[in-house]
Amino acid sequence: MSESTGRRRRRHRAAERGASIGLTVLASFSGGRAGAQDVGREGLSIAREVDRRTGGYEDYEARLTMVLVSRDGKERVREMEVSALASGNGERTLLIFQSPRDLAGTALLSHSQVGASDDQWLYLPSMKRVKRIAAAKQSGSFMGSEFAYEDISSQEVGNFTYHYEGESRIGDTEVYVVERFPVDESSGYSRQRVYVDRSDYLPLRIEYFDTRGEHLKTLTLTEYEQRGPYWRAGSMTMENHQTEAVTRLEWSDFRFDVGLNERRFTADGLGRRGR
């Protein structure tokens, strides 16, 4: 999920230029390491193309079904309404639980900002309270699922450096393989390996490696749909290879650029929902 406004797009391009300049400077000092520079550029260009295909909207609404599957196959299902608004130098996301019944009405509001940690507010309808939650750690679990916050939040191109690995196949689909390395030192990952469809530039699989370099999780993205100019994966499955637990996110009813009101994405707006 990545998106931008006009200002945000400019910031993105600035970040990409910075990455590109950085690579160029590196190349100029590294003399004969033109090969490394090339694979870095190639990886970066693929990442940019992916970003172009999947981002660029102002807002959206969708239905999300989160299925938490335990190691022995038991499932917990949570259904949510998701809405997002690109704003300022970040994005605001509102998740409102529809089911199960004991969570219905619980809402989570997140303000993510480029270069700063996310702010979150949680509305608990049983206690009729809105609580701001300070500084959620990006490597922490998102709502008890196998997704970390950093897996869900903005996947800005400038948040990684890249290395093009080559080509491969997933089933009958030819893919580019790009390794990306988080720039943020507090990331829970040492690297990620992204498999990008050669024809559509849509990510099909992402492998996550922990700080010890062990393969921790795999995200599989399927059932892509195009709504207007925007592509979205209808299903995202994160498999944790250590715990053997799986989380599936099933997206439906995407509606882009519907003109969402900013007041909806405030703590006051959250509290008013409970009255």
Binding site: L68, V69, S70, D72, K74, E75, R76, P100, R101, D102, L103, T106, L122, L124, P125, S126, M127, R129, K131, R132, I133, A134, A135, A136, K137, S139, G140, S141, M143, G144, R212, Q242
Partner: protein, 789 residues
């Protein structure tokens, strides 16, 4: 001697080359098979292999596997808790992570949810208890002060007065399943942590995986040491008696192939060689070798007056019966262990019995063939005729002739005293048992409990059985009530359950205006707070509750206070759960601690029935052997005496009755009966051959006495070495077997013949018919009347 038996040995000698070749082939095949059998020295095999307790435990482990995979570093520091201690713990956490441990938890990694004021706004601050970037002496002390009595953290991350801290990590499943990998991790961690030790700091690495790695390692070391030493002692003592190297080697010839075949059978049965079956060589060497000593002793005497072939046939034919029965009774003693549900003990009992029978078979086939190649006629029997042996045997034979009533009176009186002392024996067994108190492992465990932690838990496993989830307020109230119930017990170090998770969360969410014990008031509130708990990293929610599976647990951390206190505590917990079940779902007690204690209770419960079964079976064997139930009973009476003496020694010395020591009783009874069979068997052979019973009795004592004394010395010497073990159980097995062997000799040489002679009894005597067929005749033997041939 039965003619039929003689023919068997004649046939063997006539086909000695073929028999030898067949045995060699069998040994080669068995040796190859034995070399391919894996070893498994893990402690999991001490657990009951089946039954409802094991099923409950396995079911619990599917959802909550961490209890047994947790490794903990306990850190006690004389400095006040501050930045220095924090950085030390941080280093340990880094060592754990670098070693591949998961879920590393310490005071710098767990997150808490607290109400905080940020810019005038009340915020739910979800943050690390003490983050590394903000750690200072003051921030650490403040955080520790605020959470000092947090039920989930006290007893888990720090002790009651916060003078000691803990860093926890869990082993990955692949490492946990691999004994060698587990030991490697343990050794690596120990060497890394060694560098952090210093003045004023005590660092102890422990946990169930550590115990499981170290105990088998120690057992393995002891086994190699003691089995090798036992073999050496056995051979030396044999040589001192026989003064003939070849015959000493012959004793091994029967035992070694039997052991190889047994190990091959272990492999064929799909079982590994374990810490218990690894002791079979020394047991079979000592027990099986005793029969070979009797055989060779008889052969040497025959050889002095006849040709080699005749000496072999006659001595083996005479001894084959008694040796068969001694093997049978000893085998029954070991096989009775198969009645436990502990796979380890079942394997040990069954395969040791098998090995003893195989030793008999090889003694009866290979040994006579090898002896047939002997040219020597005379042997140096000076050692066998040593003054002490001669004096002892003559004294016993004299008693058998005179039959003074004083002997029986002394025997009865001693038995009564033994019964009185044996009543003082107590039953007790610890979770990590059998190591002596000097052992580092035990010292560490005692230290851990002294500073306020423990590595042992009892787990209450709760399962949802309807639509209502286990975090319903009524279930939470039930859990809290149960925690209050168990906390009063002095065995309990602390408890952890879902209510301990909810209280601080609810307090933080409602701005700290609520009392400590406030729980959610509705299911919706509990569900929503649970959602909040899931957002905490390093949180303990999944350690206590798996919502998708509908399972929860209450953790009761306990001290290892011994079975005398633990079993009543567990029984009390089970009574509570039965009389006050949770409002929704089910709750049962389980966990490694419970499983071990159940194993203890089960072995103790089965002790008397197992011993009774062994006694009945042996009585059956003796009745069959002697053809008279009265003779069978008569033969059993003196063999209870060593068991009474054993119990009396334990009572006086303060040795507790526990699973390991109980094993010895079955073994000791089987050993004691062997001597009785030889004495009574020889007496019957002599009287059946027409000898005057009055003269046959002392002669039977003289004929069998030297070999009985010799085998008792060998048994005592061989088992005495076990007293050098680090394991109390091995020490006690050695000591108790020695006591048993010495007592058995005294009873069988000095008391039993007197008992036979004094008792008026009907004997069933088989006398040979002229046509060679045997018939039964009934003849009353009146010891006061002139003898009837």
């Amino acid at each position: 001697m039965r003619p039929s038996r003689g023919k068997i040995f004649v046939w063997l000698l006539r086909h000695r080359y073929a028999v030898l070749a067949l045995n060699v082939l069998l040994i080669v095949v068995a040796g190859y098979g034995a070399s391919r059998v894996p070893t498994d020295y893990t402690m999991e095999q001490f657990f009951p292999g089946w039954g409802p307790e094991r099923e409950r435990f396995d079911r619990y482990k599917l959802t909550f596997p961490k209890e047994d995979t947790r490794i903990t570093l306990f850190w006690e520091d004389s400095r006040p808790p501050g930045l220095d201690v924090y950085r030390g713990l941080e280093q340990v956490a880094g060592i754990f992570e670098a070693a591949g441990l998961r879920d590393v938890r310490w005071l710098g990694s767990v997150e808490v949810a607290e109400s905080a004021d940020v810019g005038g706004e009340s915020v739910l601050d979800v943050h690390p208890l003490v983050g590394s970037s903000v750690a200072t002496d003051e921030s650490i002390r403040k955080a520790l002060g605020r959470h000092r009595d947090d039920a989930l953290l006290r007893g888990y991350l720090w002790n009651g007065d916060q003078s000691a801290f803990a860093v926890h990590g869990t082993l990955p499943p692949k490492v946990m399943a691999d004994d060698a990998a587990r030991r490697e991790v343990e050794e690596h961690l120990e060497s890394e942590i060694d560098g952090l030790r210093g003045d004023g700091r005590t660092l102890v690495l422990n946990g169930i995986p550590i115990i499981r790695a170290r105990v088998p390692k120690l057992l393995d070391q002891d086994q190699r040491r003691l089995v090798t030493a036992g073999l050496a002692v056995f051979l030396v003592v044999l040589f001192l008696f026989f003064r003939h190297l070849g015959q000493v080697v012959l004793c091994l010839v029967s035992v070694v192939p039997a052991y190889l075949c047994t190990v091959s059978l272990i492999g064929l049965a799909g079982r590994p060689v374990t810490v218990m079956t690894g002791f079979i060589p020394i047991i079979v060497l000592v027990v099986g070798g005793s029969d070979v000593v009797h055989l060779l002793s008889r052969y040497r005497r025959r050889r002095a007056v006849s040709r080699n072939a005749e000496a072999i046939v006659r001595s083996f034919a005479e001894m084959s019966g008694p040796c068969f029965y001694t093997s049978l009774t000893t085998g029954i003693g070991f096989a009775s262990l198969a009645g436990t549900r502990i796979q380890l003990l079942t394997d040990f009992g069954v395969f040791t019995a098998t090995s003893i029978f195989l030793t008999y078979l090889f003694s009866m086939t290979l040994l006579p063939v090898l002896l047939s190649f002997y040219r020597r006629r005379e042997f140096n029997d000076r050692a066998l005729g040593a003054r002490w042996i001669f004096s002892t045997v003559e004294a016993a034979a004299g008693l058998a002739s005179r039959r003074p009533r004083g002997v029986l009176a002394l025997f009865a009186g001693t038995a009564v005293v033994a019964v009185l002392f044996s009543s003082t024996v107590r039953v007790d067994s610890h979770l990590v048992d059998d190591l002596n108190e000097r052992s580092r492992l035990l010292r560490d465990l005692r230290w851990i409990e002294d500073v306020g932690f423990s590595v042992f838990q009892v787990n209450i496993h709760m399962r949802q059985d309807g639509e209502t989830p286990l975090h319903h307020p009524a279930s939470l109230a039930w859990m809290e009530e149960f925690q209050r119930f168990v906390r009063d017990d002095p065995l309990v170090v602390g408890t952890a359950a879902l209510p301990d998770l909810f209280r601080p969360l609810r307090r933080a969410t409602l701005d700290g205006r609520l009392s400590q014990s406030s729980l959610p008031e509705s299911l919706e509130e509990a569900s929503q707070l649970l959602f909040l708990a899931e957002m905490q990293e390093g949180g303990l929610v999944t350690d206590l509750y798996r919502q998708a599976e509908g399972e929860a647990q209450i953790v009761i951390v306990v001290r290892d206070a011994g079975s005398s206190l633990m079993l009543p505590f567990l029984a009390g917990v089970d009574r509570y759960l039965a009389s006050r079940p949770p409002p929704f779902g089910t709750a049962v007690s389980t966990g490694t601690t419970k499983l071990i204690q159940n194993y203890t209770a089960q072995v103790l419960r089965n002790f008397l029935p197992s011993l009774a079964i062994a006694i009945v079976l042996i009585l059956g064997v003796m009745t069959w052997m002697f053809g008279s139930i009265r003779q069978g009973l008569l033969a059993l009476v003196p063999n209870f005496f060593p068991l009474l003496v054993l119990l009396a020694v334990m009572g006086v010395a303060g040795f507790p009755l526990k699973p390991a020591t109980i094993l010895v009783f079955s073994i000791a009874f089987g050993l004691a009966v062997d001597d009785t069979i030889h004495v009574l068997g020889r007496f019957r052979d002599l009287t059946r051959g027409g000898a005057d019973p009055e003269k046959a009795l002392p002669r039977a004592v003289r004929d069998t006495g030297p070999a009985i004394l010799m085998t008792s010395v060998i048994v005592s010497a061989g088992f005495a070495l076990l007293m050098l073990s680090r394991f109390e159980v091995m020490y006690m097995v050695g000591l108790m077997t020695m006591v048993s062997a010495v007592t058995a000799v005294i009873v069988d040489l000095f008391v039993f013949p007197t008992l036979i002679g004094t008792t008026r009894t009907w004997m069933t005597v088989r006398a040979p018919r002229p046509d060679g067929r045997e018939v039964e005749t009934h003849e009353r033997i009146d010891w006061q009347a002139p003898e009837t041939a």
